[in-house]
């Protein structure tokens, strides 16, 4: 294709200058710019804190076993038994010899090993958790995904992040949320309410390993002692429209068994969150 003629270019310049509207200056532009810049700065700090916390936990689990041993077992919410009477466990297949567990499910799905957090999953999402195995090969983790979760290969080697999550590969527009309890001083200042998920176009190796293209991280506060927060890491493949909003809503409604979980009024769990279907 040849170069456009000078006359064509001149005419286009004139046309653009004449027709592009002169929009009124937006009111309060500078104020909004400043607020946005400050918000971005806060997000980066929180995301960095969450990343440091997760990395620290992983390192502690492999290099400094003594540190993890000092984290007491999560205290089960006192009201859990009565608040969520007789909750059936999700029927997720757990291979013999592994420590994978299905979180207890009532009106929400309760992760006993992730600071006892209860989440109300989006429809058709699945949940799975793995406790600290006591031998410090595996740190406690909770997983929530829009696709089928398949526990395998525990204890998983930390150097191979792909085998440390119950998803071999995310499907298009699918997502995996990983929850990890944290007990580190200084996190309180980084916690926001409602929890905010900060996105990155450069997902971690663990997220890329399951074909994630975008990763979000954040901190969930309100945990019972000795925990200071639950780290949230959402790995998404593709645009996944509405997923981040769904997950944000889910973690905003998180409950740590302080009496706000109500007894189920209908048969929940497997009907709402079929374990083996997408």
């Amino acid at each position: 294709m040849g170069e456009p003629s000078a006359e064509d270019e001149r005419e286009l310049r004139i046309l653009l200058e004449r027709t592009v509207p002169r929009l009124p200056a937006p009111e309060g532009l500078l104020g909004r710019v400043r607020e946005r810049a400050r918000r971005t700065r806060r997000r980066r700090r929180t995301a960095a804190a969450a990343a440091v916390a997760v990395t620290g936990l992983a390192v502690a689990g492999t290099v400094l076993p003594g540190l993890l041993r000092e984290i007491p077992e999560p205290v089960p919410p006192a009201a859990s038994a009565s608040a969520v009477p007789g909750p059936p466990a999700l029927e997720v297949p757990a291979p013999a010899g592994t420590a994978w567990q299905a979180p207890r499910a009532g009106s929400g799905v309760r992760f006993e090993h992730v600071a006892g957090v209860t989440l109300r999953l989006p429809e058709h999402w699945q949940a799975l958790e793995v406790p600290d195995d006591g031998r410090l090969k595996v740190a406690a983790r909770g997983f929530v995904s829009s696709q089928r979760l398949t526990p395998y290969g525990l204890p998983c080697p930390v150097k191979s992040p792909k085998s440390c999550v119950p998803v071999a590969a995310l499907g298009p527009d699918d997502a995996l949320l990983t929850l990890a309890p944290l007990a580190m001083d200084g996190l309180e200042k980084k916690i926001e309410w409602p929890p905010v998920l900060y996105g990155s176009d450069s997902p971690s190796a663990a997220c890329r390993a399951i074909r994630g293209t975008r990763e979000y991280s954040g901190l969930l506060g309100g945990t019972p002692a000795p925990y200071t927060a639950v780290s949230l890491t959402l790995c998404v493949r593709g645009d996944a429209p509405g997923t981040v909003e769904d997950v944000s809503a889910m973690v905003s409604g998180a409950d740590f068994g302080k009496g706000t979980v109500t007894a189920p009024t209908h048969t929940p769990t497997t009907a709402e969150h079929p374990p083996n279907e997408k």
Binding site: E9, R13, L16, L29, R36
Partner: protein, 169 residues
Amino acid sequence: MDPGEGDFEAFVAARGPRLLRVAWLLTGDAHLAEDLLQSALAKVWPKWPRIAGDRPEAYVRTVLVHLHASWWRRRWRGELPYGEVPDAAGTADPYAHVDLEQSLAAAVRALPVRQRAVVVLRYFEDLSVEDTAATLGCSPGTVKSQSARALSALRAALPASVAGGERHG
């Protein structure tokens, strides 16, 4: 007040309206344009003390164009491609200018995002081929070929009334 904030305010007051028009041409929508400019300025503001002395407008323009491209990639723009370019009215039409504006916006919006950026930078911002290439992070040859394709597409998309008599202003 942060360092250099006075300069930043002066810059926004002086160049904001022009940059808003650039954003409009990129997005084709007044609200999106405002949001795009706001986002770009929010990215620039913390770095202002460093860039204020060295062609800040070029820096802001680069952020604006790249931010728009990333919006496009993530499909956060919430806009739908036009199936076809709206008809342009004859010159006697009292709303001719509005129609012309809409036709042009639609035609520019129908361009691939890179060609659109080239049109905005070269023909609206009047940058040289080299400056356009530097802003977009591509070669001058790419800018030339993208310009040619964009002009050809615009010529085909804009109605004859615009492409002919109307264009001679």
